[in-house]
C-alpha cells in the first residue's frame, strides 16, 4: 500500500514539475513579448531597426532597403525641383496659369464672377453671383457633390463685410469655419482654400464704413484658418499692387480684367505649396 502510494506520489511529482516548467517557460515568453505601458519616445526609426536585424539575417535585404530609400529621396527631390520650376514659370508668365486649374471650383461673389465673365475659367466651375456671401455656399452643395472637385477656393468677403455677416470679425470667422466643416463632411477628400478678402478702394470705403472692417475680417479668418489647419490664401501683396495701380473698375469695388491673372496666380500657387 505504501509502495503504491509512493509510486503515485512520484509520478504526480514528475507531472507537476513538468507542468511548472511549462508554465514558467510560457510566462518567460509572454513577458519578453509584452508591450511596455510607456514606450521609449527616443526615436529609433523603423529603418534603423530593420537594418539591424536585416543585416544579420540577410545583407542583400539591407541593400535593397537602402536602394529603395535612395530612390524615394531622389523622387522627392525631383518633385521639389519640378514644383519650384513650375512656380517660377507661373510667376514669370511662362505658363498660362488658367490652364493649370483642374478639378476645382471657385465659390464667390460678384468679384469672383469675373473669372468666368472674362472667360478665364469654365463658368460651370465658378459658382459665384453678385450679392453672394459665405452663407450662399449651402445652396451650392448639390452642385459641389456632382462636380466633386479636388480643390475649392472660397472667394467671398466684400458683401460679408458690408452686411456684417456674423456680427463681428470673430463671428464671421466662425461662420466661415462652419461652412468649411459642412463642405468637408459632404466632400471628405476636397482641399479647401480661403482666399482673403480683396481690398476695396478708399473712395468705395467711404460709401460704406463697414468695408473698413475688411482688414479685421481677414485677420480673424487668418487666425481661424491657422487654428484649424485650413489654407489661408493671403492676397495682401497683390492688393497692394491693386491699390498702387488702381486696378479696380470704376466703382472701386469690382476688379478690372487685368487683375484676375494676379489673383489666379495667387490661388494656384497656394495649391502648389500645399
Amino acid at each position: 500500500m505504501h509502495a503504491v502510494y509512493n509510486s503515485i506520489r512520484n509520478n504526480f511529482a514528475c507531472l507537476l514539475s513538468a507542468l511548472l516548467i511549462l508554465i514558467a517557460a510560457l510566462l518567460a515568453v509572454r513577458l519578453l513579448a509584452a508591450r511596455k505601458p510607456f514606450s521609449d519616445l527616443t526615436d529609433a526609426s523603423e529603418g534603423i531597426r530593420f537594418l539591424t536585424t536585416a543585416e544579420e539575417a540577410n545583407p542583400s535585404l539591407a541593400d535593397d532597403f537602402l536602394r529603395a530609400k535612395k530612390k524615394e529621396r531622389l523622387a522627392s527631390i525631383q518633385r521639389s525641383e519640378e514644383k519650384e520650376k513650375l512656380k517660377d514659370d507661373i510667376i514669370n508668365d511662362r505658363v498660362d496659369v488658367y490652364s493649370l486649374f483642374k478639378e476645382y471650383v471657385i465659390l464667390g461673389d460678384s468679384r469672383a464672377v469675373g473669372f468666368s465673365h472674362f472667360k478665364f475659367l469654365d463658368h460651370h466651375r465658378v459658382l459665384a453671383a453678385g450679392g453672394d456671401t459665405i452663407l450662399k455656399v449651402r445652396d451650392h452643395m448639390d452642385k459641389l457633390k456632382k462636380l466633386n472637385p479636388s480643390y475649392i477656393y472660397l472667394c467671398y468677403g466684400v458683401n460679408d463685410a458690408g452686411l456684417k455677416i456674423g456680427g463681428t470679425p470673430e463671428g464671421y470667422a466662425e461662420k466661415v469655419l462652419s461652412v468649411i466643416n459642412e463642405i468637408q463632411e459632404a466632400l471628405p477628400e476636397v482641399r479647401i482654400y480661403f482666399s482673403s478678402i480683396i481690398w476695396i478702394s478708399e473712395t468705395a470705403e467711404k460709401k460704406n464704413p463697414a468695408w473698413g472692417k475688411i482688414y479685421e475680417f481677414n485677420n480673424t479668418c487668418r487666425m481661424m484658418c491657422t487654428q484649424n489647419n485650413i489654407t489661408y490664401i493671403d492676397n495682401d501683396e497683390i492688393c497692394l499692387y491693386l491699390k498702387e495701380k488702381k486696378l479696380w473698375s470704376g466703382d472701386g469695388i469690382h476688379l478690372s480684367k487685368s487683375f484676375y491673372k494676379l489673383w489666379a496666380k495667387n490661388l494656384y500657387l497656394a495649391t502648389l505649396e500645399d
Binding site: A24, R30, S39, D43, A173, N181, T220, Q227, N229
Partner: protein, 165 residues
Amino acid sequence: MMKTLAFELCRWTAVAVAILFIVRLSDGFSTVSSANPQKVLEAAYTCADTTNLQPASNQIIKRLYGIDPSEYEFCALYYALTNMDVDELLLIKYADSSQEQQIQSAAKARLQGQKNVFENYGVGQMDLLNNHSILMSDSGFAFFIINLKADESAAAFINALREEE
C-alpha cells in the same frame, strides 16, 4: 504515516497555491486595459469643464490632428465651440507603440500650433495651453486634454482604465 500524509498534503497545497499565484500574476503583466473606451471617455468628459466643448467628426479630427480615426480601435475628440477657445479632449485606443508615437507627435503639434496662434494675443488661452494641458498614454490609451479641469479629467481617465470591462 498520518504525519507524512499531512506533510505531503501541505506541500502539494503550497505548490497548487504557487501555480495559482503565478497564473494570476501573469494577468498583471498585461499592458492593455480591458476597460470600455466609451466609458473611459465618458468618465474623463464628465470630470472636465464641458462648457466650451463639442464633439468632433472624423473629418475634423483628421484636419486638426492629421490622424485617421479609422486606423484606431477607438478615437474621439471634443473640441472648442468657438475659435477663441482652446479646450480640447482627445481619447484614442492604440494598437502599438508606433501608433502611440504618432498620436503623441500629433497632440504636441496641435498644442504648439495653438500656442503660436494665441501667443501675445490671448492671455486666458495661453494660460490654459501652458498650465492646464495634459498629454499621457497608459495601458493602450492616449489621452490629451486642454481644459480648466484637466487634472480632474486625467484622474478620472486613469481610474476608468483600472475598471474591468
